[in-house]
């Protein structure tokens, strides 16, 4: 019946529109595509991947997850890996993954040039950057409370900071794990003293954030007074225009390498290897300066960008022993959750 047909056919139109809209936005599929989970935020990963595509013609299909989520996914997908490469992220994340047997050892050409702490002995991962932790504080807050930018771990215990510090949650963020191990190092790996400090610091902590850089914006806005972050996140906040100061504790603060790894059972292992080759080489790391990504390059041949070097001048920075960290991570994090996060 003609009337019926026209009635029903016009129903189809909205569906068609939505579908068309969706498919119209579909990007053209490139010939070669490698899949990756990126722990680096999109703002940094995307330009790098675009440069990679320019250099090699290989497209990178990626999704961003925080380090904990990425690792959880990769472990969960062990039997049926969805991606080829785990890109970026503090090295302790990769170290934890080794135990689960999710990586395929691979040594890119630059492997032997890298300092030992920037590579796994068997090639389970290689470092593509170095990322020191810093203190970042809000200038207005400092002025109001007549404080200097914190220059010691002990400075953060000042009652003026009560409920005004933000830092990462060790359950989800690699930043936090690096921070905790930094504290451990400054106390000479004396766990009791280290945990004592962290417990004393607790009342001053407004929020333990899900992601490492989660507290940077609140500090930038003045919602929080200070925080402990990776330098990339801190300088990014400053660059956005927020009124903050970067400082370093005199006792020293840790740094964590950012790593890349090939997944076992990856569907495009050759392409993945090409990405690793490129990322571990000056080809990518010399681009940090261009895109204002404030990582310290891992490859010895790449010079640190001058303004970054300026910030780092005089800072006492020590590497985290990732063997030690990897072996004790679970236990330390659990202890932190039980004694520091939710004190009874």
């Amino acid at each position: 019946m003609p009337r019926f047909c026209s009635r029903y056919s016009c129903l189809a139109i909205p569906f068609l529109l939505v579908w068309l809209l969706g498919w119209a936005a579909a990007p053209a599929v490139a010939a070669d595509t490698v899949n990756a989970y990126s722990i680096w935020p999109e703002n940094w990963a995307r330009p790098m991947f675009q440069e990679f595509e320019k250099a090699t013609g290989i497209k990178v299909n990626f999704v961003r997850f925080s380090s904990g989520e990425a690792l959880a996914r990769v472990i969960h997908e062990k039997n049926n890996p969805q991606v080829d490469v785990l890109f970026g992220g503090p090295v302790e994340t990769h170290a934890a993954g080794i135990k689960e047997g999710i990586f395929e050892p691979y040594k890119p050409p630059s492997f032997n040039v890298l300092p030992p702490r920037f590579r796994h002995s068997e090639g389970q991962w290689v470092a593509i950057a170095d990322d020191p932790l810093v203190f970042m504080s809000n200038n207005t807050f400092l002025k109001e409370h007549n404080l200097k930018p914190p220059a010691s771990w002990g400075d953060l215990l000042d009652p003026a900071y009560k409920n005004m510090i933000q830092m990462a949650d060790a359950r989800t963020s690699g930043t936090a794990v690096t921070r905790i191990f930094s504290v451990l190092e400054t106390y000479g790996r004396d766990e009791e003293k280290a945990f004592d400090y962290m417990k004393k610091l607790r009342p001053n902590v407004q929020l333990y954030t899900k992601s490492g850089g989660g507290g940077t914006l609140p500090v930038g806005l003045g919602q929080a007074g200070a925080g402990i972050f990776f330098i990339v996140d801190a300088l990014d906040t400053k660059a956005k225009g927020y009124d903050v100061t970067i400082s370093f504790p005199k006792e020293g603060i840790g740094t964590s390498a950012e790593a890349i790894a090939l997944l076992k059972g990856a569907k495009n292992p050759e392409l993945g290897k090409k990405l690793i080759d490129w990322a571990a080489s000056p080809a990518m790391q010399s681009l940090f300066a261009k895109y204002k990504i404030n990582f310290v390059p891992a490859h010895p041949e790449v010079k640190i960008e001058p303004s970054l070097a300026e910030v780092l001048k005089g800072a006492k920075i020590f590497p985290i022993d990732d063997a030690f960290a990897g072996a004790n991570r679970k236990r330390i994090v659990e202890r932190w959750v039980n004694e520091v996060l939710n004190p009874k």
Partner: protein, 568 residues
């Protein structure tokens, strides 16, 4: 053969005699088993089985953790408070809209303000809350001069969730209050009652089932809310859905996450059962569009009108404030630091975020007709046809809707990752999750609509020579078309705005706008997060308008108005 046994075999015989019915029932059961029962079973297995043995060990291990126990009580407490506050607000709102003799203009304003939270992606109020109420918040610091105000914790989560969910109470209570015959109140007046007394002894008691229903709905919604506490609850107030999420994504403990979601399942199930077997028995929600001659409503004293309207407008104003702030965040460079006007964030979402937009639209677009179709098919079968296991089918179809999204997401993650059925990484798993979670609204609308259609109409068609297929196609289907559209609309809206289930289901191939918003918020790219949110609100609003239009156009002359169901 006794009559009962005769009836049962009669039921089987009849079903077998009608091959179309038999096949349809079989297919539906297969779908329900696959996408509702199987994941749930796997979840329970993960919780209670350890190497083939049934054990409570996992449960005990989780519950032994003080943090988790605290999260359990916190969840209940928060849910109860949200239920209470939201219901009260919703009642005040509904009362003002229906019984205060407001002009159409005011009512439209109130309606619009209540619509916004329903069609928004998550985190919208949370973002605005932090800017407004943080230690240096717009309102607490700049406006009121309070220093060191803590924005994280129970109070802001409660505030945010109440604002987000009170429209549900509003939409539930509105038809009930509207349905109370003003003549009943007139009757009470004529017997000498004061206004307050009439309210207390006539209006309120008639509304009580509706209040109970609204409370339970809000309780369930808050219990399941994963997004708001993630931002606002802070570390001192853990709640279960967030804990389950963190357990999996932070500690990569899938088993622990499964157990936590099971703990969440228990109160959710209790609430669902209460609702189904206690509250809904007590009253009949008649969605009537009939506007007969009415006396003017006198239940509200004239002096009370203005304050009531004022309170509602204040509430509407608060809601609007949050959305204005959201829009503002999307058009300035960096909220709180650089307030230069820019379209940059929108550029970003339409270039870098285009994949998410495309994926979400494709998934929502696929889920929409599937959900609508599934909704009317199941609703029709359950309401009209007699076959063995009919009641069971209806209950099972509601399960995923009643459960918090976190549970469903984790269940799907566990169930579809390994053979025999591997769906992780596909769009199908997300579409299936949406279809089976959000179709029940369409199912219920279909059932309600069918209950209003006299069975003799279908018999008349049969008597005129039409087979059951023709009858369904030419008589039943056009009459339940409004339920189809309502079901469509709800699936689409929820597909655009949901996160708690699907955060576990996104993959390298398919991502969703809501997940991108979360990522952006985590990366503190507030501009793009806000821009995405505004985009979602605009798209959903446009679709609602379109569907309302379609509902009106295809409405049977003299039939019921279904637009209010879009709130469900």
């Amino acid at each position: 053969m006794t009559s009962i046994a005769a009836a049962r075999t009669d039921g089987w015989r009849r079903t077998l005699r009608d091959p179309a019915l038999f096949v349809t029932v079989f297919i539906l059961w297969a779908l329900l088993a696959l996408f509702i029962l199987f994941p749930l079973a796997k979840l329970l297995a993960r919780t209670f089985l350890d190497g083939g043995q049934i054990t409570l060990g996992n449960l005990v291990a989780i519950l032994r953790d003080v943090n988790h126990r605290q999260a359990f009580w916190n969840s209940l407490l928060l849910a109860a408070l949200v239920g209470l506050c939201g219901t009260v607000l919703g009642f005040v709102y509904a009362f003002a809209a229906v019984r205060a003799n407001l002009s159409r203009a005011w009512i439209t304003v109130l309606d619009a303000a209540s619509l916004l939270p329903l069609i928004s992606p998550p985190f919208t109020t949370a973002i605005a809350m932090i800017y407004s109420f943080g230690p240096r918040g717009l309102i607490t610091y700049h406006l009121l001069g309070i220093k060191g105000f803590t924005v994280y914790g129970l109070h802001s989560t409660l505030f945010s969730e109440t604002l987000t969910y009170f429209p549900i109470a509003y939409l539930t209570l509105k038809p009930i209050l509207a349905g109370i015959d003003p003549n009943v109140e007139d009757m009470a007046f004529s017997l000498g009652s004061s206004r307050w007394r009439v309210f207390r002894t006539v209006t309120l008691p008639l509304t009580v089932p509706g209040l109970a229903n609204a409370f339970l709905l809000l309780f369930a919604a808050s219990l399941a809310d994963f997004a708001t506490p993630l931002i606002l609850a802070g570390n001192s107030f853990p709640v279960l859905p967030t804990q389950a999420y963190l357990q999996i994504t932070g500690l990569f403990d899938l088993k622990g996450g499964a157990v936590l979601s099971f703990v969440l399942l228990v109160p959710a199930l209790v609430v669902y059962l209460l609702q189904r077997f206690w509250v809904s028995r007590k009253y009949y929600v008649t969605i009537t569009g009939k506007v007969g001659a009415q006396t003017t409503i006198k239940s509200l004293a004239p002096w009370a009108r203005a304050p009531l309207l004022g309170a509602c407008l204040l509430l509407a104003g608060v809601v609007l404030y949050f959305y204005v702030l959201l829009f503002y965040a999307s058009v300035v460079v960096a909220l709180g630091a650089n307030h230069a006007w820019t379209w940059r964030h929108y550029q970003v979402i339409f270039t870098e975020g285009l994949k998410a937009i495309r994926d979400t639209l494709v998934i929502a677009g696929a889920g929409m007709p599937l959900g609508g179709l599934y909704g009317i098919l199941l609703g029709y079968l359950v309401a009209k046809k007699i076959f063995p296991g009919r009641q069971a089918m209806e209950i099972v179809s509601m399960i995923n809707y009643a459960l918090p999204g976190t549970i469903v997401g984790i269940a799907y993650l566990i169930a579809f990752n390994d053979p025999p059925i591997v769906l992780t990484g596909t769009a199908l798993i997300i579409v299936a999750c949406y279809v089976f979670r959000y179709s029940p609204t369409g199912i219920r609308a279909t059932v309600a609509l069918l209950q209003q259609i006299d069975p003799s109409i279908e018999e008349a068609s049969q008597g005129l020579g039409a087979g059951s297929g023709t009858t369904f196609r030419r008589i039943t289907l056009p009459l339940i078309l409004p339920a189809f559209f309502a079901g469509l609309g709800v699936v689409f809206i929820r597909s655009m705005t949901a996160i708690s289930a699907t955060i576990f289901l996104v993959s390298i191939n398919w991502t969703l706008i809501t997940v991108r918003i979360l990522e952006n918020m985590t990366e503190l790219s507030l501009g793009p997060a806000a821009a995405f949110s505004v985009l979602v609100v605009v798209i959903v609003f446009a679709v609602i308008v379109a569907i309302s239009g379609l509902l009106r156009r295809f409405r049977t002359p003299g039939a019921v108005d279904m637009t209010s169901i879009l709130g469900g």
